[in-house]
């Protein structure tokens, strides 16, 4: 609860700073943009947080995002209908998670190393299967290999999942709503079912969980599958939302944003801690900071430092609050 209060305070303070100091940030359209970015990072944060709760780590998230975005484009370009390509790419994500999970649980390889290798493998795969992909590349009527008939289904998907209208104007924060729905489902499993108890138990004390009869390996594999599937979903949303995706850059460093969001949201890297609401709140931090620096015309050179320092400050405040409350108990 203390950690939740800490992150609620941080998010509220950042929103207050943004809205009070930057009048143009109060524009509804701008706030919807920020919310959608929060949804984008939030979806991968949910997966990263689950892995962290069971005491693992997934460094391949960003590459899976990029690879899935490219795969989504390439699959449609090869003639697969967008509505069929979506579950296919989700299946790709699930397979990646299954491979990660099996390597970690059956071969007893370290999660850090397995997913670090995955980071290179899936980035490389993205570059092998396509360079730059975009909606236009898939549907361009001037290109005989393209599929102009997919234009409407792609726009429908974009409208439903991202919230952009036919012309690309954001009319509702679809990704944020999707994040809330996913967080509700995940929160139900995490806090209301035996699965959640297994995951917390594994993160707290793996051996104790095993002796208590929990199939630790199976649960770990399930969590990695969920994480990579969510990363695949985020990749497809990225494809739908952005004008184009470069295999080299799409989703690059997102694993760090996801891990940061999870930790800010109350997940301990030691495992066994974290809540669904915390994950959502943790993911809300960075887009607000990003919007603040964008709208205030800060010098390009200083932006990464400002973002990093703000997040570090948030982490320090969160930790101090937690310690103070622990001392009071």
């Amino acid at each position: 609860m203390t950690r939740i209060l800490g992150i609620v305070g941080l998010v509220s303070a950042l929103y207050a700073a943004l809205l009070l100091t930057t009048p143009s940030a109060r524009d509804v359209g701008n706030l919807m943009d920020v919310a959608n970015l929060q949804g984008q990072y939030g979806i991968i944060t949910l997966g990263a947080a689950l892995v962290i709760i069971v005491g693992g780590i997934d460094l391949s998230i960003g590459s899976v995002v990029g690879c899935s975005a490219v795969l989504f484009g390439v699959t449609m370009k090869s003639g697969v209908h967008p509505y069929a390509a979506l579950p296919l790419v989700l299946a790709f994500g699930a397979t990646v998670g299954l491979v990660n999970g099996l390597l970690i649980t059956r071969l007893k390889l370290q999660a850090f190393l397995v997913t670090l290798c995955g980071m290179f493998v899936y980035r490389g795969l993205a570059r092998l299967i396509g360079g730059t992909v975009s909606r236009t590349w898939v549907t361009d009527p001037r290109d005989p290999t393209a599929h102009p008939e997919f234009d409407t289904p792609i726009r429908n998907l974009r409208s439903g999942l991202v919230g952009k209208d036919f012309l690309g104007e954001l009319v509702f924060p679809g990704e944020f709503i999707l994040l809330i729905v996913l967080a509700l489902v995940l929160g139900f499993f995490l806090h209301r079912t035996a699965y959640g108890r297994y995951w917390y138990a594994i993160g707290h004390n793996e051996l104790a969980a095993k002796y208590a009869g929990v199939n630790v390996d199976r649960q770990r594999v399930i969590v990695y599958v969920i994480c990579s599937t969510l990363a695949s979903l985020a990749g497809m949303l990225l494809f739908l939302n952005m004008p184009s995706i470069q295999a080299d850059a799409g989703g690059s460093s997102w694993e760090l944003f996801a891990i940061l969001g999870a930790v800010l949201g109350g997940c301990s890297l030691r495992g066994g801690e974290g809540t669904a609401i915390g994950m959502v709140l943790g993911a809300m931090v960075m887009p607000v900071v990003d919007n603040f620096v964008n709208l205030n015309g800060m010098k390009s050179d200083g932006i990464p430092a400002v973002i990093g320092l703000t997040l570090l400050l948030g982490t320090i405040i969160d930790e101090l609050l937690r310690r103070r409350n622990a001392a009071r108990k």
Partner: protein
């Protein structure tokens, strides 16, 4: 927990709805004494864009403008577009963009051009987007100038390799296309084949020149990959003479030079570049790079802000027509001005041009 999540959702939606700010529809012209707010976004972070930023800052002072200038951290339209969208929502009076993926960004830029005065610089978008004008050289013509430099340094033909950030942006396509246009002959216009000495190296023939791998090698933007690409090609061409390495983005010539240094090939291979990276200019003066074709990014920044400020004040006379920005060719010894395809092209000495660049940078505190 579910209740708390529902509460969070409502809180967020309430936050989203609390704004009563201005809508950015059809950014109005500013009143007489008001300062227009102009935004400039580049395609990545690079010293090339520092020059552009210096020019934009100078114009902002000269024309009484509030300037927002961003160099996105990566050459990626997915990073660039959210910056532009945020500025549109903010209600800026004009935006200048170095477009990364003209095809992919076409739809979004068309929508944005209906709300804000939009110009392109360095890298153009389709005129159908409704952008007001393009500030930049004709990259195809500038590419041809690079091709002429290659012909000058390897008059009897040889092996060439081209390096660039990507193969999809308009400037990349035009620059590499311009080089090959200049080199090709009717009987050797991209004819596939293997290297005359290194049979394991495949490529294409353009006139007397063999292009390694048949296309420009891409690196995704400034970084280590630009050096490793060049190093790998030099490794594959070990023992081959008459090599010319062509770097078509600003960071490519220094990256090629770095790779050549690592293989002790400086002076043994020819390097021809594009853009006015200070390292490139110093190396031309030192005789390590043969020459470069430059665009004057300081002027891109200055002109972009000047044009958008004028448009915001209701004056459209500053808008540029097609092909009004000439490139320049920098070599160690320079040369007299020439009129090429209707453009007056200058050939300054590298030391003189480097001094100009340093003066430009010093003229405005970054």
């Amino acid at each position: 927990m579910a209740l708390r999540l529902v509460f969070l959702a409502f809180t967020s939606l309430a936050l989203a709805g609390c704004g009563g700010g201005n809508s950015a529809t059809n950014a109005p012209n500013v009143a007489g004494g008001e300062r227009p707010k102009i935004a400039v976004v580049t395609n990545c972070t690079d010293p090339f864009w520092d020059l552009c930023e210096a020019g934009a800052n100078k114009a902002a002072k000269d024309h009484n403008v509030d300037l927002l200038f961003r160099q996105p951290e990566k050459l990626d339209a997915a990073i660039q577009m959210p910056i532009i969208e945020a500025w549109v929502k903010q209600g800026v009076n004009g935006i200048a963009v170095s477009v990364i993926d003209p095809k992919g960004q076409e739809e979004d830029l068309t929508r944005i051009a209906k709300k804000v005065s939009l110009i392109t610089m360095d890298n153009d978008a389709a005129e159908s987007t409704g952008r007001l004008c393009y500030v930049g050289v004709d990259n195809r013509e500038a590419g041809r100038a690079v091709g002429r430099l290659v012909k000058k340094v390897l008059p009897n033909g040889g092996t060439i390799a081209m390096f660039i950030g990507n193969n999809s942006s308009a400037n990349a396509i035009d620059r590499s296309g311009g080089v090959l246009d200049e080199l090709k002959t009717p009987d050797a216009d991209g004819k596939p084949g293997t290297h005359p000495v290194k049979k394991d190296v495949t490529g294409k023939y353009y006139g007397k020149y063999f292009l390694v791998d048949g296309e420009a090698k891409t690196d995704g933007g400034p970084g280590e990959k630009a050096v490793t690409n060049a190093r790998d090609v030099l490794g594959r061409l070990d023992g081959v003479t008459d090599i010319c390495m062509i770097g078509l983005y600003a960071y490519n010539p220094p990256a090629i030079l770095e790779a050549a240094r690592a293989k002790s090939l400086v002076g043994k291979i020819k390097i021809v570049g594009f853009d006015e990276n200070l390292e490139t200019l110093k190396s031309i003066a030192a005789g390590e790079i043969e020459g470069t074709v430059v665009q004057d990014p300081f002027n891109y920044g200055y002109k972009s802000v000047e044009i958008l400020a004028a448009v915001a004040r209701g004056d459209k006379s500053k808008l540029l027509g097609k092909g009004q920005t000439p490139y320049q060719v920098i070599t160690k010894d320079g040369g007299p001005d020439q009129t090429i395809n209707g453009l007056l092209i200058k050939f300054p000495k590298a030391v003189d041009f480097e001094k100009k660049i340093r003066d430009d940078l010093a003229s405005v505190k970054k």
